[in-house]
């Protein structure tokens, strides 16, 4: 049986490129901005890329960066797995809001698969698949990548989580009353909601280790079977997802040293996740990095996987922007901290009660 090694990564976020984003995460440099001209009579705090460069170009740049960092000369023998919640919706919106008609819209550029098509045209992958389970999209893609590599079905798998900001998601989350007008404060009392943001996370997973690779050691999922948008208040779905990932990694809860929480900053999500963490773990270190780069929706699983990888590589716990006045007694990280980190858990939860938890480990751990 093989293992799934993460051998090269890249991020594009509101904080900038990979280096900028990792620096922003560990040094609490929030890049979310408040806009008062998007929704009438309402301020929203969201994360948008600078307009000088297109999303498509950032997508290609980030994948090129991973190819350059990798031991591959091309992606011709690599399976591409894309996770996205909106695909080409932003392209559709630009045309529709300008022309007030669907006539000029190309369906192939609207769909989730539009992202994989852009990348396949450029890099010529062996094959490609796209996943869309809202905010767990790229976490599900990572789960599949891990399972395929363990079976030796593929040697190289590139996972891309990508979501461009669009009015559908900004107005949609606003209609639910969960879009904050300031940078989000996950797990805090009286938190005001989430910050939608755009982002791209790219991970190359291979069935052979490289000098500084990190293992995707476990992947678990579950369904709440409760409500189309609200999480199950019993936390059972979240807990089951976490248990499944620990079982898959063949480790105990007390071996997790840090949790990169889903932590959106909404009342319902954070309460459910905090209760799950309290019930399963004993004072484990936790943070939500969404307070710094926002909630990148379908890209969040991939981006937060890369942050988890960096925590393991640098042996540094990633802080949260504001860790004061917690609603629940969880051990939120306030500043970056040196720590001995063996395993990291990353949670992703989505509409429809779709839950995914991923466990990352250093490559020399006994049970990995």
């Amino acid at each position: 049986m093989s293992l799934a090694y993460i051998t090269a990564t890249a991020i594009r976020s509101v904080a900038g490129n990979t280096e900028d984003t990792i620096d922003a995460i560990f040094n609490k440099k929030c890049n979310l901005k408040i806009y008062d001209s998007i929704i009438d009579d309402k301020k929203v705090c969201i994360g948008k890329f600078p307009q000088e460069i297109t999303f498509q170009q950032l997508l290609i740049d980030s994948v090129s960066e991973v190819l350059k960092k990798s031991n591959l000369s091309s992606f011709h023998n690599t399976l591409l797995l894309v996770g996205s919640s909106v695909g080409g919706m932003a392209t559709t919106e630009k045309i529709f809001f300008k022309e007030n008609s669907y006539s000029s819209i190309d369906p192939e550029k609207h769909i989730i698969n539009a992202i994989a098509t852009i990348l396949d045209d450029k890099f010529k992958f062996k094959s490609h698949r796209s996943y869309s389970t809202a905010c767990t999209s790229s976490a599900n893609a990572l789960k599949t990548a891990k399972e395929l590599l363990v079976l030796n079905a593929y040697e190289n798998i590139l996972v891309v989580g990508a979501d461009e900001i669009c009015m559908t998601t900004v107005f949609g989350f606003s209609s639910l009353g969960i879009l904050s007008d300031e940078p989000c404060t996950p797990f805090k009392e009286n938190r005001k909601g989430m910050n939608v943001a755009e982002g791209i996370g790219v991970l190359l997973l291979q069935n052979k280790a490289t000098t500084d690779s990190i293992i995707l050691a476990g992947a678990g999922a579950s369904s709440d079977a409760y409500h189309i948008a609200n999480p199950d208040p019993s936390s059972n779905g979240a807990k089951q997802s976490i248990f499944n990932s620990l079982f898959d990694a063949n480790i105990d809860a007390n071996q997790i040293d840090y949790i990169n929480a889903h932590g959106t900053g909404t009342g319902a999500n954070d309460l459910v996740e905090a209760n799950a963490i309290i019930e399963i773990f004993d004072n484990v270190s936790v943070s939500s990095t969404k307070s710094i780069i926002g909630h990148t929706l379908g890209a969040a699983g991939a981006i937060e996987a890369i942050i988890s990888v960096e925590v393991l590589k640098q042996q540094l716990l990633a802080p949260q922007l504001d860790s004061t006045n917690k609603e629940k007694k969880i051990n939120l990280i306030d500043y970056k901290k040196d720590a001995e980190v063996h395993y990291v858990l990353s949670n992703s939860f989505a509409f429809g009660g779709n839950n995914v938890s991923l466990v990352f480990g250093k490559k020399n751990e006994n049970k990995c």
Partner: protein
């Protein structure tokens, strides 16, 4: 890596415009939930019932997702009217499988694939992977495109509502079916592969197909 899977039950439903009888009142007795279901959700719940599927792992597929709710949101933003929270909640691609999980109490894993024209073939590959861990998986692929203005964007002669579902089990027995023709008038391209496989299925024999992961 290749594995063989057996299709233990199968169902298909389609209409050029709108499928009329999805048995909604019997399958979803609670009116409050029934009223919120998207068209894809109603088709999913019908197909699950027809194949006898209740709980277990699910691999769902749709190339275009919840177009009707997506269009509703776009129209609201464009017309400066209030975006419906229900439309937004229902606009994600995994909506249909999620509503079924809520109604049936299914807490198992659900994956949703949206791979354009290859969607139905890809969900079979994903199902093959899932069958490495569990005994049975429900696969379902649906397109529901009957939104106001679809004629301006739909350049194909496809049925606007179409759904196919299989219950699959892993087997070590030889394949009995081979998909070699995948083009048929009226079938959305994303569903062509499963439709071709569906056409090969026979009630009086075992229906086994080889899947490359």
């Amino acid at each position: 890596m290749k594995i063989n899977v057996e299709i233990v039950s199968y169902s298909l439903i389609n209409d050029a415009v709108k499928i009329e009888n999805l048995n909604e009142k019997e399958l979803v007795p609670k009116m409050m939930i029934r009223r919120r279901l998207s068209r894809s959700s109603k088709i999913f719940i019908y197909l699950a019932s027809e194949t006898g599927f209740k709980t277990g792992n699910v691999v769902y597929g749709s190339a275009y997702g919840e177009l009707i709710d997506s269009v509703s949101i776009l129209e609201s933003i464009n017309n400066k009217t209030i975006v419906s929270p229900s439309s937004f909640q229902n606009s994600v691609y995994n909506t249909a499988a999620s509503y079924h999980s809520i109604i049936s109490g299914n807490k198992s894993e659900i994956s949703t694939i949206s791979s354009g024209d290859n969607t139905s073939h890809t969900i079979m590959k994903e199902a093959g992977l899932v069958l490495q861990r569990v005994d049975e998986v429900f696969v379902c692929s649906i397109e529901a495109m009957n939104f106001k203005g679809v004629e301006k964007i739909n350049r194909c002669d496809n049925d606007l509502e179409y759904g196919i579902a299989f219950v699959l089990r892993k087997t070590n027995d030889k394949a009995t079916l081979v998909v070699d023709s995948i083009s048929e008038l009226g079938v959305p391209k994303s569903l062509e592969w499963m439709k071709s496989l569906y056409d090969l299925c026979r009630k009086d024999k075992r229906n086994i197909v080889e899947i490359e992961l």
